[in-house]
């Protein structure tokens, strides 16, 4: 693989799995489909570190899905080896192998004739778990993916929305707690708003679960957001670059990577920074259980044009302006305008920017996973963040003496 990586020593920094052990090792993995001259996957070698999300991304037909499906041998490799957790699994019974690997596909493939609980229990059944243990695990997982078990356990897949189905798909893949997950465009068929939310929830979950995940997408933006590491694949699954998202955006290994990452790299970099990495500013807040007069005094004493009203659990309720506080005719919960543009710490700055532009207030409210208020994010914070990244990049090019005067970013 090293011959395909960029020769630039700086660019190679961090491309080797410098910490931790390797969970999945692909050695010279090759797939030739009958009747095709060139192999779909040509001697792919890759080390996937334990506990990381590695994204395979590339143009359609590059062999990324075939590569993924060879790991659990849904597609049998023509040659080469797959080593999982130190064990060569190239020739073991594929059914036993697959019970140890979670598998999520774009079309989800829930079993339509059985209930949600039975869908989730598929692998535990295959492994011969007893009834109580299975049931307990199913409920736990439905909870984890945000579907209250008592409400969803007995439903059928057709009674769920696309996003809910993919949650069940995820729960089903996690059922027997496999160390490895394979995900083939898991969010590809889901409406954009739901997709962003599922991606964020998935990332939050991963910080707890620490699974080793192979994730296929054709969308570089998704790759940048989801991946701890990205393998950019060219035709025949040849690795154009295998590096962290930061590396790929700032130091693309070659023209192919640069073209694939494409224009708007600055906007894409917003996907690298999460809301939690930016210090939120404090808003002027008031709680719904406070006296209206107290709130009004606090408002008048400040130079804010609006006050954020929180409910008893500190969840944002309304934006109140001066007149809303002075008029007595409406309860506070009904006054002002409804708060929108809520973002979780796990969301990227790009998500936050989008919310800001949608919401009328021009700011995003940062909330924790229970929906309680944490702070405000305004457009200045995002601009500062972009500037920092640009400076870092300009610094790099100056250091590498690669800077084209036209590319110079004015400081």
């Amino acid at each position: 693989m090293s011959d395909q990586t960029n020769g630039d020593p700086l660019a190679r920094l961090g491309t080797d799995a410098e910490t931790g052990e390797t969970m999945i090792e692909l050695q010279e993995l090759t797939k030739r489909f009958p009747g095709q001259e060139t192999p779909a996957v040509d001697r792919l070698s890759l080390s996937i570190p334990k506990g990381e999300i590695v994204v395979f991304v590339g143009p359609s037909g590059c062999g990324k899905t075939t590569s993924l499906k060879m790991i659990n041998r849904i597609i049998e490799p023509s040659s080469g080896h797959i080593i999982i957790d130190g064990e060569d699994v190239t020739d073991i019974d594929p059914n036993h192998l697959r019970r140890r690997i979670g598998y999520v596909i774009q079309q989800i493939g829930l079993f339509p004739h059985i209930r949600i609980a039975e869908n989730v229990a598929t692998v535990p059944h295959l492994l011969g778990w007893d009834k109580d243990r299975t049931r307990e695990r199913v409920d736990e997982l439905l909870d984890v993916v945000g579907l209250p078990p008592e409400q969803y356990r007995e439903r059928f897949p057709k009674e769920l929305s696309g996003g809910q189905r993919q949650r069940v798909g995820g729960a089903r893949a996690l059922a027997a707690d496999p160390p490895v997950l394979l995900m083939d465009e898991p969010f590809g068929a889901i409406a954009p708003i739901t997709r962003t939310r599922l991606q964020n929830e998935f990332l939050r979950l991963q910080t707890e679960l620490q699974k080793t995940i192979c994730f296929v997408t054709h969308d570089i933006d998704e790759a940048i957001k989801m991946g701890d590491r990205i393998a950019i694949l060219q035709e025949g699954s040849r690795v154009a670059q295998f590096a962290t998202p930061e590396e790929i955006l700032t130091h693309p290994a070659n023209d192919f990577v640069e073209d694939f990452v494409g224009t708007g790299a600055t906007l894409k970099r917003l996907k690298l920074t999460r809301v939690k990495e930016v210090e939120p500013t404090e808003a002027l807040t008031g709680r719904v259980d406070e006296d209206r007069e107290t709130l009004r005094q606090r408002f008048d004493a400040s130079d804010w044009t609006a006050m954020l009203l929180l409910d008893r659990e500190n969840k944002p309720l309304r934006w109140l302006r001066g007149p809303d506080l002075r008029q007595q005719d409406r309860p506070l919960e009904k006054a002002g305008v409804r708060t929108r543009a809520l973002v979780e710490p796990q969301a990227t700055l790009s998500d936050a920017l989008e919310e800001m532009l949608l919401g009328a207030a021009g700011v995003a409210i940062v909330v924790d996973r229970r929906g309680a208020y944490r702070g405000l994010l305004d457009i200045d914070a995002i601009i500062t963040s972009i500037q920092t990244m640009k400076d870092a990049q300009a610094e790099y090019y100056r250091a590498a003496k690669l800077a084209d005067p036209e590319d110079e970013v004015p400081a």
Partner: protein, 218 residues
């Protein structure tokens, strides 16, 4: 019209009709049952193996193009007269809708569903019994229903080769035309066949209600 006042009022006619109805049920259920077993096997085979698919479908289609009277007659020298040639012939006729619907039912199962079953580590046999057949079942059941209605109709002709069933009453009528009562016999046999067909249809409706999983019901 003396159909209701004399023909059906006569207890002997009624007894004969009921007995022939029972025979007719037998003449339908046995071939359909055998065709289900053979058709299921052939259908799964045709779905699995692209090489065998078109030979199997061609052969079972060919059966249905042989005129029933000819097929009954061909079988008589081999297995004699009576119910046996009828049962064999009717089984062959019932195969086409069952095989065809088994194949198309299995093909109608979402590929993603089968792939995810495979990805969970289900063996081919488990996938067939637990995933593919239950999801193909509504289409397969529709095939069995068509096969049954087809068989009820064709079974009437079995009377011509000495077979049992309501066909006997119909042919008694045909033979006696234009004698008095011939039309009544013809009508009586036909009416009971139609009633039988409706009852079978209701039976399949109930079977569908009971056996099609709620998750895939329309």
């Amino acid at each position: 019209m003396t159909f209701f006042t004399e023909y059906l009022a006569d207890p002997r006619t009624r007894d004969a009709l009921f007995e022939q109805t029972l025979e007719h049920i037998y003449l339908t259920a046995v071939p359909v049952g055998m065709a289900v077993v053979i058709g299921l096997f052939l259908g799964i085979l045709a779905h699995r193996s692209p090489q065998l698919r078109s030979p199997i479908l061609s052969v079972v289609s060919t059966f249905l193009t042989i005129p029933s009277l000819a097929l009954f007659a061909i079988l008589i020298p081999i297995v004699g007269i009576g119910a046996t040639p009828a049962i064999i012939a009717l089984t062959l006729y019932a195969l086409l809708p069952i095989v065809r619907n088994t194949v198309s039912g299995l093909f109608s199962v979402d590929r993603a569903v089968v792939e995810s079953a495979k990805g969970m580590g289900m063996s081919a046999t488990m996938r067939l019994w637990k995933i593919e057949l239950p999801n193909a079942w509504p289409v397969m059941l529709a095939g069995v229903r068509v096969a049954t209605l087809l068989t009820i109709g064709i079974a009437a002709i079995a009377a011509l080769v000495g077979g049992p069933g309501l066909g006997q009453e119909i042919f008694t009528g045909i033979r006696r035309i234009p004698a008095t009562g011939s039309l009544e016999s013809l009508l009586g046999g036909t009416l009971f066949i139609v009633i039988l067909a409706v009852l079978f249809d209701l039976f399949y409706l109930a079977i569908g209600r009971l056996t099609i999983p709620r998750g895939i019901r329309e």
